[in-house]
Symmetry: C2
Subunit: 113 residues, 2 copies
């Protein structure tokens, strides 16, 4: 799979919000989770920058906790605004993906809906 990066724009944020919505989690763990999901190409820097943005935009709550394995971890949870943003993401995703499926299934039809 070559470069997904452009297609991830506007989608990665939603994916990360959904992951956080499942329960308190910290950045490094999110990166590993994304890798497990098959998003191997997503750079750590990208995820951390996105998390900083979520914080700046007040979509998340943060709790810093010590780790036994290294430096302290920043745990994220969604706040009310974050949950709204997540719902908005799914609405947009459903809209976009349904349109695209219509387009694709419209098969041989030449510029007709």
């Amino acid at each position: 799979m070559d470069n997904l990066s452009e297609m991830l724009k506007g989608v990665l944020e939603g994916i990360v919000l959904e992951i956080i919505s499942r329960g308190e989690i910290y950045g490094y763990e999110i990166v590993k989770y994304l890798t497990q999901m098959g998003f191997e190409g997503i750079a750590e820097g990208t995820v951390y920058a996105l998390l900083m943005r979520l914080e700046r935009n007040r979509l998340v709550n943060i709790a810093k906790k010590p780790s036994e394995m290294g430096p302290p971890r920043k745990f994220y949870t969604l706040n009310e605004q974050g949950r709204e943003k997540l719902m908005s993401f799914w609405a947009k995703w459903d809209f976009l993906s349904s349109r695209i499926e219509i387009l694709r299934n419209n098969g041989g039809n030449k510029h007709e809906l």
Copy 2:
């Protein structure tokens, strides 16, 4: 539906390539077709800029023809590179949308695949 623009990044090009693949078409008609599809927010300027990019990247062939209704039209068709780009788009789309469905359907599960 509020702002889809970020989510369209990397997707709109694929949509337009797919539309062109159905048969010779010109920019203004593509804009109207997208509007019909429900993408009412997509600005004309966006589509024209994208078409210029397709041309610059040699993904399309172009035939300029006079119109009875206004200025001449630029008709686009896909060339071989364009068809390859389109296939690559669908591969990426399938990858991304399948991962997202997995994430979504993973429902209450807390950070497990």
